[in-house]
Symmetry: C2
Subunit: 329 residues, 2 copies
């Protein structure tokens, strides 16, 4: 391995000088600079980031914890983050939890070992353990998708979005509206979206059967199964179903198509997420678009800010949503 010492020797200067030209800091004569540059070019020397980090306590690496890699939500978010980090010379260390809550905590620890400068967590719950772990973190943490008190968070207005969507269905004359949600440990998706739905229903004096509220696990298949349970168990005839995520909505959609229902004639299907697939199916899914790429960008921006100012930036940032009316309602 070739080191700064080799370059110093080759260029006939001290390693201090080499360090200066590498980092472009302090005064340096043109002559020295050139000799060092030549030596570097000749040898293909690249400075060791570890030695550097050991001194400077800075790695220019941001750890990112995601629930799943292969979903539209994750990839759009990461895409947005990459955009701003790249321009600042930061890189991203990626880990996934596969929706395992324990792993969120485990990865939070692991990433600190890696001495990342900061951690962005796409969170799926707000358990006390998680909160404690975040608060104990030696490096700044920014959370996306869940609101955590005293921690900078980028969130969407899940309650308003779900309420808005439910309202829309009611305005369009739907009365018997089912709901496919997720576990309530996920506050944003499991609690707030559901509440938006139930509140809107209640506000209009609409009754909900127990069987109308089903749970999935974010997957397409679970949406399919939830839809099936709903149809089999419900006493009154449903005329609409609201899935908390597009993927589960897709599953419901598939079940209904396969069983000969007319969408939206017999029953409407709507989701949240504006996934790519939701746009191409026929009838195309009415859904709500979240600006995931923007959430990624914002989270990166906030991280950069915290990193620079050192001051605790504890705000939350609520991003807009956008109703995408298509043909399934």
């Amino acid at each position: 391995m070739i080191t700064i010492n080799d370059i110093a020797k080759l260029a006939g200067v001290s390693r201090t000088t080499v360090s200066r030209v590498i980092n472009n800091s302090g005064y340096i004569s043109e002559k020295s600079r050139k000799r060092v540059m030549d030596a570097i070019a000749e040898t293909g020397f690249v400075p060791s980031q570890h030695a550097k980090s050991l001194r400077t306590k800075q790695t220019k690496i941001i750890g990112v914890i995601l629930p799943k890699i292969s979903t539209d939500t994750s990839s759009r978010t990461v895409d947005g983050m990459t955009e701003v980090f790249e321009a600042q010379g930061y890189q991203i260390l990626l880990t996934r939890t596969n929706l395992d809550r324990e792993k969120e905590i485990e990865h939070l620890r692991l990433l600190q070992n890696r001495q990342v400068d900061g951690i962005i967590l796409i969170a799926t719950n707000t358990s006390q353990e998680l909160v404690d772990e975040i608060k104990d973190s030696k490096v700044p943490v920014v959370v996306v998708g869940q609101e955590i008190h005293d921690v900078p968070s980028i969130i969407f207005d899940d309650y308003a979005a779900a309420r808005h969507m439910t309202q829309l269905m009611i305005e369009k004359g739907r009365r018997h509206i089912g709901y496919i949600g997720v576990d309530e440990e996920d506050r944003s998706v499991g609690v707030l979206r559901k509440q938006g739905y139930t509140d809107a229903m209640a506000a209009h004096g609409l009754h909900m059967e127990d069987a109308w509220i089903q749970k999935g696990d974010f997957s397409i298949d679970s949406g399919y199964a939830a839809m099936e349970r709903m149809m089999l168990a419900s006493y009154e005839r449903l005329d609409a179903v609201f899935a908390a995520t597009d993927r589960m909505g897709l599953g419901a959609w598939k079940y209904l198509k396969r069983h000969g229902f007319d969408i939206p004639g017999d029953i409407a299907v709507v989701g949240i997420g504006a996934s790519e697939t939701s746009h191409f199916i026929d009838p195309a899914l009415t859904t709500i678009e979240y600006a995931h790429a923007q959430a990624g960008r914002e989270s990166a921006l906030v991280m950069l800010q915290v990193l620079q100012d050192e001051k605790e930036f504890c705000d939350k940032k609520v991003l807009d949503f956008n109703l995408v009316e298509r043909d399934s309602l």
Copy 2:
């Protein structure tokens, strides 16, 4: 920051001893171990990975270079890699090139600075510069998606897949078959798939008009535009179109639907990739499934092997493909 020295002091032992218990190496009395463990628990000490890497020359981080983050191909591949790396305690440093060839080279360099243990490159070209850069790399490189001589590569049999698909169209009675490809700098997708198509056509003595062969840039929109050009410029009536990727196929499909063509009655559309969306559209896209997750897993396995044996593992591995017949042909 709390360091190994603090622990040593607290536990009343030398830092050598602390190092031993951290790494579980060498003999150690139960008494010493316990005192060190207690001190660690009490302080929440985590060893600096940088200091460690500086000594051991090992980081347990693998750099991954992707063209795009938010595509099914990338996310499935990364998902597969993560699966095997995670079990071995490796983590992934992610970078994307946005299909910019220069960035592939730039990131190759950047990642070496980061002192990653190895680099997995999802390549989109096989230019001499890229090959040179790979050969110069100080850390092992594994390539996915392109075959590069003397570098371990995980590839798909693009030629056979495309030829097979074209054959199928011909067997089904199609004679006027258009093709939407990509730039030929991409050997796998741009050259081999196209050749599979032209060879199959030629083998059956089928004529191809110039206008039948169009290029896109992997995006859905580019597929749409290519389809449009093809329809406008071609003299004879097409009865099928083969897109080199599902995304472009989706674009073509959209164009045809929007312009009132019956798929597959008037014209068949097929692709390669088995993207999620391709399955849900109506008519569902006939396509070829590549085992991307497996490619990810294999690439990780090969990397681990190279890392352990230190011996140059220069084989290429060709993964199977799988025809998925649906309704668009």
